[in-house]
Structures are given as structure tokens and as C-alpha cells.
Subunit: 437 residues, 2 copies
């Protein structure tokens, strides 16, 4: 009987792990350069914590279970909620607290080619700063990750939950002040967020189904359809939402973001798009999504926003916070699709082969010595002939083979075979490191 | 309302994460040098897979749960079982397959100071080789990890499940051939494994409780009490277990291990100890445990052994395999206890401070430039005064502060303050990298 990985999860064999590690290390190095420190939390949390501000859609996707003493737990669905709990529990931490986390999360979703139930998030968050500069530093960190990963043409879509709240005010107060609306902001947000996927007509249909009348629907669609450069979209937003306090606060935030983005040099990537709303409940201010041009079908590869109330909700002091999360699975798909990977199939650099069985211990000693120099190498553990040792090294993709024979040992000069170039040269042991790296 | 981490789990704040990453990276570098490649599997597996060869004790400790469509799953309790499943499912992988994995596992155990329910294992395994050289390479990899971590005085305890099976034969056949024993080998192993913890008298008591008579108990205790250097313990084993086929196979394995350990240069660390039995069911040959001398109370920091039947049990071709697992939590405790850590509290190397608010954007630009050089730095995101910026940098443990003022910008020469030495010097921007690393 064979066992498979549970539905929505998968194994990563060495060749794929090497791609994943390349992407993770590239991202992690940017995170560190931008002054973020690591934080790790357990994979499961109290279910009550996870479900508190997740929103209904995600709440249903949490892997929920009881431990052996009946505690109601769940696998984390993101890294932001656990981090906010840490801040709530540790008020002594100096602010701003800048942390990164790169770790798996779990959501019980419909499984498709690009969507698994276990996936990695790479998060940076800045906790404690009310300034929009923090949001721009967050976006800049993501932009720098994209550049280091080799992406050249991408956009960072920006919107603001306060502006979106303003939309509700707009259709409530400005049009039919007496009408009592029966839906939540979250429901509206969920519909307008689908604009790109389902188109204007469907969005209008869904809004009407929710109870909006013709005029309300028209007004709302007018706002979310505003297109153009950041300045002009901002201006149009100001015209349409004039006098609505919450919207004006949001537009001020978006104006600040525009100002800082020029200082941080990311203004050319920014697109202001009022139809972008994000799915999670805890956002309170600016929100971000990013797309690589030409690869829009893969969706957003880094998303986030400001969540100024979350830490307080978890019992902490009122503490502003903002952050972004990069998804490595989508990034890997785009890099693979664009044939951007140029990596070996193995981390092993060298196979130390022995000509005969009695020389095996000499091969081992050479390998141990090379390992002390930091060279990744393997020796034969199967009592194979020299030919079979070569075959094995080749099947694994090991780029070099060193041949240990009697003559070689005597002269202390060995044959180093380049498996790709099919070339061979004579080397001393202390030359190898340079030649194979 | 505040939320805590679920019982037996904990958060790791940046200062502790930096220690953990140091230990993990040290171990990982050794794993790579010894020619192991990375493999990753999901955190949960089918419960049936996990419980198949875990043994009763561990089976009870599995975090078991159902997913939303009723599949019976469990969080992995080790990294060996999932790896064996991968091998069973992927017969195409070239052999030997050498993989490492560094990841958390979960066991619902009694929680104590040193024992949590979520902990990391760092595993290397060699799959496909029947040779004891593979076992010795595994032990050598662990020994090299210890050395790189700064441990000087440690021992690798070796035993063999076949020899232990021989004990059962010994007390069955040699003493009372007619007596039908009512207990499993696993039960005997579990008792003798406790020798160090509970002492001879208690072991004798428990053996008798299991149904062994006086002579059987005496004989068994005689074997497990054999002490001395590897050669003499091996010889004594041969005397005591003469004629018992399974034991002779095991002793042959231990002899091979001794031979290879001399070639690999680890013979001085090896201690042959027949009372060491290991808790998990799937071992079939040599088994290993390791202790740092002076820190024995922390228990074994790396344990493993050969498990030649596991892959077949999971539906794969019959495939021999051996491996070891290092526990980073215990290693960190020992390093902390021995005051061996000499690490910064933060990964941030530099704080770029601005003298006044209007110079903040200049500080940002300098920081962005330094980040491009790979320097980890932070800028002020709180609109703080210069004094408060220094206080913040100090509270975080950032070792250097660069001061950006009007004069400095004009001359392109800045003050670099060493926060530990309380010293200051004038620097150009391109000198900083060298000075702070």
C-alpha cells in the first residue's frame, strides 16, 4: 500500500528545493538589508485568535482541530495574525518593530494547478509607526525583492480602505440618506475587488443583488472605474468623495504615499486603483497588490496593507502596523514560465571517485579534506566500479568528478572531469576549490 | 483579552531567532559539505502513515485531526517517516539518495523546561546503501556538526538492534527453551534503554514484572552492563552471544562500523553500549545516540540509526536506509549554558540618523544606497529627535549609527558612531561596509 501527500499539499524534491531556496534566500537578503529581524511563531494557534479578524471566507478555510486535552486550535492561515499576537503579548519590544518571517501557512481552499492548501508566505511588517513612510518602506522592500529576482516590469497597485469606506458613505448619504443599508462594508469590498476578474457588468449585477439601487450602483462603479496616472486618479477621487471625512483621510494617506514613494524611488511602479479592495478583514488604511506585467494571470505576487486595529483587538496596546507578504509559489511559477532559473539540480559540487576498491579509503580521506575546505562532495557508498560511479554522478547532476587512482595518489595530481563540458584536466588538491566554484 | 501560544509551543523573538539561525546554518553547511541535498514534505500526513511504524508511545503523541472532508491526518512526529514515503513514491530517484531536512515536528508530550510539543529536527539520511560506511558517514556528519558548533568533548554511543534481538534469543533459547515469552522485543528494549536513567535495580524489577525469571534477568543485565573500550565490548558481546545468528549479524555490523570509523577519523568518539536501545520501532540495525560530556543531563543531542524495512512498509521497493537527527533546542540550551554564544541581538548593522526633519530624505537616500551595497540598515520612521534616534538604536542593539547633518552632506563625510566602544570617527560612504563588518 502506498501513501500520498494529503490533498492540496506536495513534496519538494532536491531540484525544486534548490529553486525554492534560491527564491527564499534572495527575498530574505533584501529583508535583512532593509533592517528587518526574524521572528518565528508556532504553526498552530488558538482557533479563537485565528478567526477573530480573518473574515468569513478565510475562517471557513482554517484547518481547525482539537489537541488531546480539548483545546480548540487551528493551523495559521497567515503570518500577520500570529505576529500581531506576539506584539500584543510583548509590549516591551522597542518600536518600530520590524520583523520578517518566511514560513508555510495553510488554507483549506479549492485545489487547482496554482493553488495549494499548504504554501509559503514571506512577510515583512513594521509595527509602531503611523507614518505612511512605513507603508512606502514596506512597498520598497517588495520592489527590491522583485528586482533582485530579475523582474523588470511590474506594478504596485495601491488603494486605501478608508477611501473604500468613503464609497459606502457616498452611496449611503449622498444618494438616499434615508435608506438603511442591509449589507456590510466587507460584502461591498468583496464584490468590487472582483472587477478585474468578472468585469463591470457582473459587478453591477452583484451590487444590485446586494440591495443597491440603480443610482447607487452607478455611482459606485463610476468611482472604481477611475483610471489614469496616480496624480489624476487621486484628484478624481477627491472630486468624487468631497466632504466625506473618512474618504478624505484615506486620500490624504494616498497623497502621503505618493510623496514618500518619490523619495524612495518607487513612484514609477505605483498605480492607484480604487477597485482593489483585498480579501482580509483586518486592513484599516492603505492596501497593496503587485503584478508582474505579462504574467498577470498568476495574480498578485505580493500583497498587504495597514492594519492599525489588529494588535489592540488581540489585547495589546493600540499599535499601528503595516506589512506585505510575498508568495514564493507564484514567484517560482513566473520565473519557471519565463525560463529565468539557471540553477544546478544538486548542491553537490564534486564526486570523489576511486579507481578500485582498495583506494576507496584514500578517496574518503580526500573527500574529508575537501569538505573541511567547504566543498560539497560525495564518495561512493555502493562499492561501484569507476564507470558506475561516473554514471551515478551524472544522474544526480554533480558537475565535477575527481578521479583517485594509484598513480594520482603517488604524484598527488588528480584528474578533474567537468561533466558538462566533457573536458578533463590535471589538478592538485588545493586548486580544486577555485576550479569548481 | 490576550491570547497565548498553545501549550508546549512558544514564540522566538529576534534575539533568540538569531541564535537559532546560527545553529541551523552551522548544521546546514556541514550537511551540504557532506553531499546532502534538501527535501521538504508537508507538515501533515495521513495518520495511517504516521502511526504505521511509530511504536505505541509515539502513536499516542501524534497531533491527530480530520480535514474538512473527513481525511484522518496528523502532524508529523519526525522527518524520517515522510522521507521514507517520498522514497516509496519515487523509485526513480538515483541511489544512494542523500537528503537533509531541517524543520519542525510535533509530539503531544508532557511539557517540561527542556521539552516542548513543537521542536526542530535537523536530519540527514542516506537511502540505498547496505554498507556500514553509510552509517559511519552519517555519524561523521553529526560529529562534524558538533565540532563546528564548538563542542570539543562528546561521545557517540553505538548499539545494534540485531544484537538486542539476540538478547531475546539468548534469554529464550539458552536458558529456558520451553518457556513461551509473552512480551515483545520492543517492551524489553524500552526497559533496558532506561538503564542510565533508573539504574540496574529498577531495570531488574521491571524485567521481572514483564515475566522474566531470575536467571533470564541476570543474563540480560550481564550483557547490557558490559563496559570498556569498543574492541573489548565487542569481544565480550561475541562471547556472550555466540551461536545466536541474529546477534552475530549485528556484531558483524558493529565490527564494520568500527573499521570505517577509523577511516573517517571518528573512532575516538565511539562508545559501544548494549544498553542503548532507542524508542522508535522502525530501526533494524545500528543505532546511535550522542552526548556532550559535562552536559549529559540534556540527553542525546543527535540520535538515529538504520531502518532497512521502513520504505518497503510504505509500499516502496525494499530499500536500506540510515540516518540521524540533531535537536537544535538541546544544542541551544547547551551552548547557552556554556556561554558559547557571541552574537548580536539584531541583524541590523547600522542606523542612519538624521539631525533634523528636513534632512530625513537625505538619510533615506543614503540608507537606500548602503542597502544596495548589502548593508542592513534602518532609518527613523517615527519622526524622532536625534537623541531619541540614538536611544532607539541602542535599545535594539544596533552596533553602529551614522549621523546625517547639513555639514556632513556638504562635505560628504559623516560621523560613524560605534555604540559599544562609544567611539566615533569620520567616514566616507564607501568606507562604511568595511568598518562595520
Amino acid at each position: 500500500m502506498q501513501f500520498q501527500t494529503p490533498r492540496g499539499t506536495r513534496d519538494f524534491l532536491p531540484e525544486e528545493m534548490i529553486k525554492r531556496e534560491y527564491v527564499i534566500n534572495t527575498i530574505k537578503n533584501v529583508f535583512i538589508r532593509f533592517g528587518f529581524d526574524p521572528l518565528e511563531t508556532p504553526v498552530f494557534e488558538e482557533f479563537k485568535l485565528l478567526s477573530k479578524k480573518s473574515g468569513e471566507d478565510i475562517k471557513k478555510q482554517i484547518y481547525e482541530f482539537k489537541d488531546k486535552s480539548g483545546r480548540d486550535l487551528g493551523l495559521r492561515f497567515d503570518l500577520t495574525v500570529p505576529m500581531a499576537r506576539v506584539i500584543a503579548n510583548n509590549p516591551q519590544l522597542p518600536k518600530p518593530f520590524k520583523r520578517y518571517a518566511i514560513a508555510p501557512v495553510w488554507r483549506y481552499e479549492e485545489v487547482s494547478a496554482g493553488r495549494k492548501r499548504e504554501f509559503y508566505q514571506c512577510d515583512v511588517d513594521i509595527v509602531g509607526s503611523v507614518s505612511m513612510e512605513a507603508d512606502v518602506e514596506i512597498m520598497t522592500t517588495a520592489v527590491e525583492c522583485f528586482k533582485d529576482l530579475g523582474f523588470r516590469d511590474f506594478k504596485v497597485k495601491v488603494s486605501d480602505r478608508k477611501v473604500l469606506e468613503g464609497f459606502i458613505e457616498l452611496i449611503k448619504k449622498k444618494i438616499e440618506p434615508e435608506m438603511k443599508l442591509e449589507f456590510s462594508s466587507a460584502e461591498i469590498f468583496r464584490i468590487i475587488d472582483k472587477l478585474e476578474k468578472i468585469g463591470v457588468d457582473e459587478v453591477e449585477k452583484e451590487l444590485k443583488k446586494l440591495g443597491l439601487n440603480e443610482k447607487q450602483t452607478e455611482k459606485l462603479v463610476e468611482v472604481i472605474l477611475v483610471k489614469g496616472n496616480y496624480d489624476s486618479v487621486l484628484r478624481k477621487g477627491k472630486d468624487l468623495l468631497k466632504g466625506i471625512k473618512i474618504a478624505e483621510e484615506g486620500l490624504k494617506e494616498l497623497e502621503e504615499i505618493w510623496k514618500y514613494s518619490k523619495i524612495y524611488g518607487i513612484d514609477k511602479y505605483l498605480v492607484l486603483d480604487y477597485s482593489m479592495a483585498r480579501g482580509i478583514d483586518y486592513y484599516t488604511g492603505p492596501i497593496f497588490e503587485t503584478e508582474v506585467r505579462g504574467y498577470e494571470k498568476y495574480g498578485s505576487i505580493a500583497s498587504g496593507g495597514r492594519y492599525d486595529n489588529l494588535i489592540e483587538t488581540f489585547g495589546g496596546r493600540p499599535t499601528p502596523a503595516t506589512g506585505i507578504s510575498l508568495g514564493i509559489e507564484r514567484i517560482i511559477e513566473i520565473l519557471s514560465d519565463g525560463k529565468k532559473f539557471n540553477l544546478e539540480k544538486t548542491k553537490v559540487k564534486l564526486f570523489v571517485a576511486s579507481v578500485s576498491e582498495e583506494l576507496k579509503k584514500d578517496a574518503v580521506k580526500i573527500a574529508l579534506d575537501l569538505r573541511k575546505q567547504g566543498i560539497s562532495c560525495q564518495v561512493d557508498l555502493m562499492n561501484r566500479s569507476l564507470g558506475k560511479q561516473f554514471e551515478f554522478a551524472d544522474s544526480l547532476g554533480i558537475p565535477f568528478v575527481l578521479v583517485v587512482g594509484k598513480e594520482e595518489l603517488k604524484k598527488n595530481v588528480y584528474k578533474l572531469k567537468d561533466m558538462k563540458k566533457k573536458s578533463e584536466r590535471e589538478v592538485k588538491l588545493d586548486q580544486i576549490q577555485k576550479l569548481i566554484s
